[in-house]
Amino acid sequence: MEIGYYPGCALHGSSNDYDASLRTCLRALDVHLRELDDWICCGATAAHSLNHKLAVALPARNLAIAERDGLRSLLAPCPMCSMELLKARQAIAGDARLRGEMAAVVELPVEGTTDVCNLIQVFQRVGLDTIKAAVTSPLDSLKAACYYGCLLTRPPDVVRFDDAEHPSSMETIVEALGAKTVRWNYATECCGAGMTIANDAIVLDLAHKILANAEAHGANCVVTACPMCHANLDMKQADVERHAGAAHGMVVYYLSDLVGLALGLPEQALGIDRHFVRERTGIRNQESGARRPAAPAPES
């Protein structure tokens, strides 16, 4: 299967472990990623907060490039990018006047026909049976809290994915890898996302509640499919612990990390060695857990 790839700024920056993870994992599942040529930033929160037209135009430029290059499907593994692309696509596809205006603004014709998907949807396309058949190291000892955050399922009219209040698509995949999943309360709560730089008290509070709730429901790891969720829960976890006066030591994986590990792919190729919070002894089963000696959590 070939699919267009819009990495977005985070995956080319501090979340390059996510980029490595999904590239390695999807390659093993015979999914070929064709990176969108000369893609630009989607504008993220800054654009939709400050200028409505820009918030449509920046994603529209990327949709136009995809259409020009014949990419019918585009994986945007960052839910923020994904949502912005889908929102722009919806607006453009349903409004001839806007299509004309945007074509002039972004200097390329744009119809809004590209299918934009998130990482979970790519795994769904690969198929649960195919993934199950490829598992060589079942993740028996994992009890995962699947964390969707805000924009994977919201707003539902835009992203049209899973159930906005009780999503289960990630659990289905994680359980197919042999892991257990927990029922918990913060699966779709926001982590504060991009507020981490300008107003990090918000992020530290929210991240603490998420990690504490996962822990209280018996999870030994959190799984995410979002670079910002991962940064706030993993990279900032030591700050969260200091801020809240509580120890978490919670390992946070990208969904593609877990699929990759179950497929027997090495941690380094998946970028797991670049995470901040390291796995504790005995969380993963013997075959995969033996790859690295136990390290104290959180980060060294």
Binding site: C9, S15, L50, V105, C150, L151
Partner: protein, 199 residues
């Protein structure tokens, strides 16, 4: 009761920023506020913000800190029984605040950050994280002389570097001039928008 935003809001962004939002449908059930992850720190909670817009008090709404505390998680919009796009109300108010240069003082930092983010994208086509943080911290420091902000996350930098997560020179877009033109076309509709480089 007026159902239209103030003329000032309209003139600030060059159009009626609430035209696509069914603000008048809100019957104040408070579900938006109940689900908001940051309502407890807001000076004016989401249903009150919607109310201010309903009665035409956008001038008061853009002065709240709440619109900049909002994390745009879309929970309010998702749960509204009347399909009022509350998150879009927050966006519209931030846009009016930005264009008219009126914002609550404690929100200044967040606004500065969003501005620096867009300037960065305009220059590079993609976000250069290090450059963004450097520019944001410098401008924020010049504004409020906050030393803690300058050093916030400083301990994180060497750890990020050790993990290959810091890029001194980011990958830029080849056709950066087209990005600049896109910004120019969006930021100055009918001459209402102020240039993004101005404070």
């Amino acid at each position: 009761m007026s159902h239209t935003p103030s003329a000032a809001a309209r003139s600030a962004v060059g159009h009626d920023p609430f035209a696509h939002i069914a603000v008048r449908d809100c019957y104040q059930c408070g579900k938006c506020t109940a689900g908001c992850p940051v309502a407890d720190r807001m000076d004016t909670v989401p249903n009150q913000i919607v109310r201010l817009v309903q009665v035409g008090r956008t001038d008061a709404a853009i002065r709240t800190r709440a619109i900049w505390d909002c994390v745009s998680c879309q929970t309010c919009t998702t749960r509204c029984p009347k399909s009022v796009d509350c998150a879009a109300v927050m966006d519209a108010l931030r846009q009016v605040s930005f264009e008219s240069g009126v914002a609550a003082t404690p929100a200044r930092r967040t606004l500065l950050f969003q501005k620096a983010f867009l300037q960065n994208v305009r220059r590079n086509g993609r976000l250069n994280e290090l450059e963004l943080i450097a520019v944001f911290k410098t401008t924020a420091f010049l504004g409020d002389l906050s030393v803690p902000l300058l050093f916030k996350d400083a301990m994180l930098a060497p750890k990020m570097r050790a993990r290959g997560k810091l890029h001194l020179v980011g990958k830029k877009v080849r056709d950066r001039r087209v990005v600049d033109r896109i910004f120019a076309r969006c930021l100055n509709p009918k001459g209402h928008a102020v240039p993004i480089t101005e404070g």
